[in-house]
Symmetry: C2
Subunit: 184 residues, 2 copies
Amino acid sequence: MKAELGVKNCLYPLPTVLVGTLVNGKPNYITIAHVGIMDLESVSPGMNKRHYTNAGIKATKTFSINIPSTKMVKVTDFCGLVSGRTRNKADLFKTFYGKLETAPMIEQCSINMECELVKTIDFPNHDVFIGKIINTFCDETVLTDDEVDIEKVKPILFVMNNQSYYGIGEKLAKAWSIGKELDK
Amino acid sequence: MKAELGVKNCLYPLPTVLVGTLVNGKPNYITIAHVGIMDLESVSPGMNKRHYTNAGIKATKTFSINIPSTKMVKVTDFCGLVSGRTRNKADLFKTFYGKLETAPMIEQCSINMECELVKTIDFPNHDVFIGKIINTFCDETVLTDDEVDIEKVKPILFVMNNQSYYGIGEKLAKAWSIGKELDK
């Protein structure tokens, strides 16, 4: 039996990231899990307009996406609880920069993508920032045969429905492959 | 040590969904994992322009997001391997409709969201369809205390880097909660 839930977003889990930008010239990081991939080179963090970070992204037209691992769950959650208006969250991490000079990245996160702002989509309460990836960094320790290994990245997955974080589970199958068994 | 990977999207895993629409009046379903949440009521599947489905979404201005469970991994992968141009993929499922008459949904998927197309973002090779959720359905069997329970939904998570599907793992912590321990 199907239950009708009304308007309820159930597109979970999504990866929890730390979005970095300069606000008033200083690095700031905020926890965001309403994200997505638009095309192969583009990502889209959706950020409530009340956040301190939004003005920084609009001013610098750059931001970074940093992927924390499960062992960073406490500090990741913390960066979603406190605002850069009242707290210097950059002190929690070691910051580095890539090609862009205004997209601070977090050394402790094993994946870092520096992005240029391509477009902002205006929702009633949210800015969705479409970023084109300019360059990606990763810890060498998360590579397997020169490819990023998600089982080593150990991202933090977010589920709004029960307001919880999860790890990634077991590998189920190869994509563009297991389905061929049905193509008889 | 950080390795530089160039332009590489590493925002994974993302939930694998089956996007439903009518194409030329007939239900069709396609596997998409480049998705995201924009604001609380909006989702954004990013779909290569060569797909058969895109014209249907543009014509009907509606689509559905159906979340298959891990036990559906084979048929889910299959729907990404074959095109609706040559194959009637709707035969693989039982279709139902909600409020919209042009957003076919899959009975076998435990979560179904019917969406109205709000805007299409034009990328060189992709259409990103921003959909506003009009109504959500779920199997009563995936509810725990009237809330959608991701551990019962068992979504299929997609990782492009190693072209693999994963299940969801263990619960790590409560969001907006565990970080409070650092707020001393």
